[in-house]
């Protein structure tokens, strides 16, 4: 019998349903994204999947002027910049994700450390990948 470990596949499966799926340690309660099989805090292997609400705060951010090729492919450039961030979710996990400003009044200048944000799931218009992309928007 093969043993199934919790892993990044569970995270992507969650995204297809519009959910943020993390792992929670049954021993120390620490929560990690993406979900992992062994707790990094206490080394316990008693992990369960836990859906997170998707509300949190920005702990670090940047406006990217020289994008990597995957973002160039999405139309970003020195003249069309985007904001990305490290977000600490209220329920414990921390994750790197884009700050979605499209269709909003926000620009990179207003983003700041401590800003409250909420998760959104963006379906890729070109269907370049199966699951939607997790982004955050200022609340």
């Amino acid at each position: 019998m093969t043993v199934k470990f919790i892993g990044i596949t569970d995270y992507y499966e969650g995204l297809t349903k519009g959910k943020i799926v993390a792992s929670k340690c049954n021993k120390c309660d620490d929560v990690y994204l993406p979900p992992r099989p062994i707790c990094s805090t206490c080394q316990a292997r008693d992990m369960i999947l836990k859906e997170l609400r998707g509300e949190g705060r920005i702990i670090g951010h940047t406006t990217v002027a020289v994008p990597p090729s995957n973002m160039v492919d999405k139309g970003f450039s020195y003249d069309r910049r985007y904001v990305t961030a490290i977000v600490a979710l209220d329920q414990g996990a921390i994750i790197a994700a884009l700050i979605d400003m499209i269709g909003s009044e926000y620009d990179g200048e207003v983003i700041h450390v401590g800003m409250a944000v909420r998760a959104h799931f963006l379906v890729q218009p070109d269907r370049s990948q199966n699951e939607p992309v997790l982004v955050f928007r200022p609340m």
Binding site: V64, V66, P67, T84, I86, A93, A96, A97, G108
Partner: protein, 425 residues
């Protein structure tokens, strides 16, 4: 809890070292660069070394696979340097690759397995496009989560850390600029640096170029004014601009290690390795919410001071991993030289200048010396060895007696960190 005592089975000494010229060289591949560093390292051994005495090679390299389309670099270097069939191992830890290679060499000698070892590092980066280089460097992050999902580049990851630091401590871009100005000033005295030009020199060059091109001559008041100008210093990832980032560099570095017992056969100026430590960390998302400091650097530093039985105040000269100006500020705090939040002012106040209380990156650092990623760790260590043994020529520190030096080498955003402390006997 780790309670075992870290110590070397037998003393290890550096008896020679060198770096190739750092810069962009379209005609040189990684074998050419390594040859340049190796031949000079051999001739730097004062009393001479017969190459047949070298028993093993440890070569740091991040990604010749991506940059040059060549894997399996260890044996190629052994062959090219005429050292086959001696065992040769390539070591990879992103930008800390040769900090790791040095550490492997130290452990090989300390354990008694080998008596004379060559450690080095090499990276040939300039053959790739700028966009390709940025993508390849980003492979050292957590690719699915940080790059694919969040669009981070390497500068962007350090920029996010910098935003957290600036927000917490109320510092600004001037503190970052001061690091670039200091390291470029140091690079002026290093003939092998990619930029042996001060920011003022570069500014003057740009103004002269504009005049030659018949364009309006820019009038910058000083270096800070020049660095504020986004035409001269464009944004990369806020708050980091071009002059906050280490350049794309081709280069190699090499050090010859032997036992402390045998060192006097090779040199009168013996420099030994009194601490060699290494720590790992997951991506920033695993740091518990504080991204104003690099956990692996703090741990490697603390263990290094314990191993060497010294304190930060005992260290006379330092090379830190300033892949970005903001990284130098974090480094001098993580290494215990400055309290959290106080490192930002160090360059502004001159404390870390070459004539300051604690000279940091007298080689020019990664910023001005250049950053061929796999070669950086050993390049830093050969600079410390030169300073401690009085072989640093024009940039030799003379305003204080040098006894202890430290080198700090970081891979990724601190996924890997090595700290080494060297002592002049």
């Amino acid at each position: 809890m780790r309670t075992q005592k870290r110590k070397l089975g037998r003393g290890v000494a550096i008896v020679g070292g060198a770096m190739s010229h750092f810069g962009r060289s379209s005609k040189k591949n990684s074998r050419d660069l390594m040859t340049e560093a190796y031949v000079e390292a051999l001739s730097s051994v004062e009393l001479g070394m017969d190459p047949t005495e070298i028993e093993a090679l440890y070569i740091g390299n991040f990604s010749s696979d991506l940059f040059e389309g060549q894997s399996h670099l260890g044996h190629l270097m052994a062959d090219w340097l005429g050292l086959a069939p001696k065992p040769a191992t390539r070591i990879e830890g992103a930008c800390a690759s040769s900090g790791l290679a040095f550490r492997q060499g130290v452990m090989a000698v300390a354990s008694g397995m080998h008596d004379v070892v060559l450690v080095g590092g090499v990276e040939k980066m300039s053959a790739a496009s700028t966009e390709g280089t940025q993508d390849y460097l980003a492979k050292a992050s957590d690719v699915p989560m940080e790059v694919d999902q969040a669009g981070f580049t390497f500068p962007a990851l350090y920029a996010a850390m910098s935003s957290a630091y600036m927000s917490r401590y109320g510092t600004d871009r001037k503190h970052l600029m001061a690091v670039a100005i200091k390291n470029h000033q140091n690079g002026v005295l290093n003939p092998k640096a990619q930029f042996n030009l001060s920011v003022l020199d570069i500014m003057g060059g740009r103004a002269a170029q504009a005049k030659r091109d018949g364009k309006a001559t820019p009038h910058w008041r000083d270096e800070y004014d020049f660095l504020q100008d986004t035409d001269a210093n464009p944004l990369v990832a806020s708050p980091l601009h071009l002059f906050d980032c280490a350049p794309i560099t081709d280069g190699a570095s090499c050090i010859l290690l032997t036992t402390e017992m045998a060192a006097r056969r090779y040199t009168e100026d013996v420099v030994t390795v009194i601490a060699s430590t290494q720590a790992s960390a997951g991506p920033m998302s695993t740091w518990g919410g504080d991204i104003t400091s690099i956990p692996s650097a703090r741990i490697a530093a603390r263990e290094a001071y314990e191993m060497a039985r010294v304190t930060p105040a005992d260290i006379d000269v330092v090379e830190v991993h300033d892949c970005f100006t903001s990284a130098e500020i974090l480094a001098i705090e993580d290494l215990g030289f400055f309290e959290p939040g106080k490192g930002a002012g160090a360059s502004v106040d001159g404390q870390t200048n070459r004539c300051g209380d604690l000279p940091v990156n007298v080689s020019g650092g990664l910023k001005a010396k250049g950053h061929p990623v796999g070669a950086t760790g050993v390049a830093q260590l050969q600079e410390i060895w030169r300073q401690l043994s009085g072989k640093a020529d024009e940039r030799q520190i003379t305003h204080k007696d040098l006894k202890l030096g430290l080198a700090h080498n970081v891979g990724g955003t601190g996924g890997t960190c090595t700290v080494h402390i060297l002592e002049r006997k």
